[in-house]
């Protein structure tokens, strides 16, 4: 069967793909659970360990979440997207955004390590060395930012990533220091706090991203908020606002993911505890893979619902929605500005029309009621007469 108009791939091919992925999923589960179980059962060996590969540690089981997201992403890619904007594509975007988080995190880790080396234990550094480091960072940031931000942008706007990854005049000359200073401050602050991210917790991650946000606002954020000039001033300014709010949204989204991922690690620990306690209790315990699976999802459910119940999470969710709304309204303003010469009405114009229509409908309704009431009253007075 050939691919149809809706974009579905060939069904036989899809089934074959599904089966392959199924096998891969089971392999992944075996590996991950093997690693998990090695904590509770020292004698346990993963399939790869049995084949003579280096034995994995129980700690590596925490990579299950990442492997899982990778697997689901791959699986969804294999099945294509039937309708643009919904279904698998929606999930793909979600997982792509998770990648953004991971990449930002890696970027920060590298910067932090470099700075820790340059700044020393006390957080004091030499300006010359700092300048060299900034140059090096600028190059790396230009490369990374393209990878990090480009996939997160709506497709028609992906070229925007060039704003950072291309040759920005501001990144040359003496302004470089000015531009990167907030990042230096960021690294120094992190160094002073002595934060160790060998084993990140949500609290640490949130603190890091708060500092990251401050650095962003003082560097790229200022660039985007700079007044525009010339013929396209209005559009440029709206566009810059859009990008600024998108970045603000990205930062909160990263915090959001940090919280979710930190909780994922907690869930894995809780699962290990439950497995260990089952083992200690003896008896029948878990008898099948299905039992283990049930314990896994129920443990995760409990942990995540506990998280969702917290005031911190509710506040973060509120912030995430808030930033998403800022981006949406700025993006709309930009699109309306950029498309005002096109031969169709925009949302603001339609809203104005809807508002007028709404007022007219209410007026008609009210007049009808008046007529009806006066008719009743008139009939009543005739009857009385």
């Amino acid at each position: 069967m050939a691919e149809n108009g809706g974009g579905w791939p060939d069904m036989t091919e899809a089934l074959k793909r599904w089966q392959e992925l199924q096998a891969e999923a089971f392999r992944m589960w075996m590996e991950a659970w093997g690693n998990t179980l090695s904590g509770a059962f020292p004698g346990w060996r993963t399939p790869s360990a049995r084949k003579g590969e280096k034995e994995k540690t129980a700690g590596e089981a925490r990579s299950l979440y990442r492997e899982w997201t990778e697997h689901v992403r791959e699986l969804l890619t294999g099945f294509g997207a039937p309708v643009t904007g919904v279904g698998p594509e929606t999930f793909l975007r979600v997982f792509r955004t998770a990648e953004v988080y991971n990449k930002l995190y890696s970027l920060w880790m590298e910067m932090y390590e470099d700075y820790r080396r340059a700044a020393g234990e006390e957080g004091e550094f030499d300006l010359e060395a700092l300048h060299d480091l900034m140059e090096k960072w600028a190059d790396r940031y230009r490369e990374l930012v393209d990878q990090v931000f480009a996939p997160a942008l709506p497709e028609p706007l992906q070229w925007v990533a060039q704003l950072y990854s291309g040759e920005m005049p501001l990144l040359a000359g003496g302004l470089t220091i000015h531009f990167w200073a907030p990042w230096a401050e960021f690294a120094r602050s992190m160094s002073k706090k002595g934060l160790s991210l060998e084993r990140p917790t949500p609290e640490v991650a949130l603190e890091v991203y708060e500092e990251w946000r401050r650095a962003y606002k003082e560097s790229f954020g200022r660039l985007l908020r700079m007044p525009a000039m010339g013929y396209y001033r209005e559009a440029m300014e709206k566009y810059a606002k859009t990008m600024d709010s998108l970045n603000e949204f990205g930062i909160v989204l990263a915090e959001f993911y940090a919280t979710l991922q930190g909780t994922g690690a907690k869930a894995m620990e809780r699962l290990q505890e439950r497995l260990a306690s089952l083992r200690e209790e003896g008896g029948e315990g878990l008898m099948s893979f299905r039992d283990l699976y049930r314990l896994w999802w129920q443990t995760n459910e409990d942990i995540y619902v506990d998280l969702f119940r917290t005031e911190e999470f509710s506040r973060l969710l509120g912030q995430l929605i808030d930033k998403a709304m800022d981006f949406r309204s700025n993006f709309r303003a930009y699109v309306e500005e950029a498309s005002k010469e096109l031969p169709f009405p925009n949302r603001s114009e339609m809203d104005h029309l809807y508002r007028t229509l709404d007022r007219l409908k209410r007026e008609v309704r009210s007049l009808k009621k008046e007529l009806r009431d006066s008719g009743i009253a008139a009939a009543g007075s005739v009857g009385e007469g």
């Binding site: 089934l15 096998a23 089971f26 893979f289 619902v305 929605i321 808030d322 949406r328």
Partner: protein, 356 residues
């Protein structure tokens, strides 16, 4: 312990079984012609803007001359009550000899962003009540509200007690400040004004993300794993797909109505405090003096029992019944227990209060 994990033969057998089911399931999915819902015949009797009022056709004997008007929530579609012929609260109630009308709120689009809570209650719901009164010749009718529709019905009964003979609420949020419900907690931190001003109407997909997050692993993972177990059974797959359709067939929310519902009820809990105003009139639950049947689901994760139960203490009715159905927010309509117990219970309650 962990026999399947430790023995590759078990594992391969499970894999083979899963794949066999998958192939069979794919055949079944490909042969399902269309997802059919709402099997019970009904006729359109009134429409206003996007709202439609339907009357269910019944061939059986009418045991109560006073009709019931069902007011469903705005956030999902009313056909949950008539999902399929063997899981239909409507069909069951018809079978008990009741005369039933139902409101379909439709799918609001951007043109409906200015529709308010007052429009829903004072205009649409009130007009439907008047149409049913006129058609039936009854001055007062029975009103059955579901979930958010139950909140609407409660507000309506407080504003227009002279038009309602009996009030039935099902899984209805009344006290929005109980902390059992995650939606209650999350809504406290939302800038509702900004959301409505930005989006105009609140997309159904946005609402669904929130509902899925209430039980993320059960609703996004285990539900589909569970399907795998029965993928080779056509009836189970068809049932699953019908439910899936209902879950994701989510209308958008008219902006202004959403704004007031979230701010006045979820955030400020004005209904319970007696401070809610609709169309310039204060909603006093003490004015509800007609008999009340308040049904909640004991395992409800969307509207926790603690949110529904307080209604009985807030109304002025002397004849009031509180009924806890053992099940969840959806199970109350589609579970086999519901089919056997709920419809007869509602019907009996109404018959006892039906004028002869």
């Amino acid at each position: 312990m962990f026999r399947e994990l430790l023995d590759p033969k078990f594992f391969l057998r499970e894999l083979e079984e899963v794949n066999r089911k998958l192939v069979k399931g794919a055949e079944i999915l490909l042969s399902i012609p269309e997802v059919d819902v709402e099997p019970t015949p009904k006729e359109l009797v009134y429409e206003e803007d996007k709202m439609r009022l339907y009357h269910y056709l019944s061939t059986g004997e009418l045991r109560c001359p006073v009709p019931i008007l069902i007011c469903y929530a705005l956030v999902n579609r009313q056909y949950m009550m008539d999902l399929q012929s063997d899981r239909s609260l409507i069909r069951n109630l018809l079978g008990q000899g009741l005369d039933i009308y139902i409101i379909d709120w439709g799918y609001p689009d951007h043109g409906d962003r200015y529709v308010t809570l007052e429009d829903y209650i004072d205009v649409y719901l009130n007009d439907c009540v008047d149409v049913v009164r006129e058609r039936s010749g009854c001055d007062r009718i029975n009103l059955l509200g579901v979930c958010q529709g139950g909140t609407f019905s409660t507000i309506y009964a407080a504003l227009y007690p002279e038009k309602i003979l009996n009030l039935i609420t099902m899984v209805t949020p009344i006290d929005f400040h109980v902390t059992d419900g995650l939606l209650n907690v999350w809504s406290q931190y939302m800038d509702v004004d900004k959301m409505v001003d930005t989006m105009g109407i609140i997309p159904g997909e946005f609402m669904n993300v929130g509902f899925l997050m209430l039980k993320p692993f059960q609703l996004m993972v285990d539900k589909y794993v569970g399907l795998m177990d029965n993928l080779d059974d056509p009836a189970t797959v068809a049932n699953f797909v019908r439910m899936e359709k209902w879950i994701f067939d989510s209308p958008a929310q008219a902006g202004e109505a959403y704004r007031q519902f979230l701010k006045d009820l979820y955030q400020q809990n004005k209904l319970v405090k007696g401070e809610l105003e609709i169309g310039g009139r204060r909603v006093d639950l003490g004015r509800i003096t007609m008999p009340l049947l308040n049904i909640y689901a004991t395992e409800d994760h969307l509207v926790p029992p603690a949110s529904s139960i307080p209604l009985n203490d807030l109304v002025g009715s002397e004849d009031k019944t509180l009924y806890g159905f053992p099940g969840g927010h959806i199970g109350i309509y589609v579970s086999s227990r519901s089919q056997k117990e709920l419809a007869p219970m509602v019907s009996d309650w109404l018959m006892e209060r039906c004028p002869r």
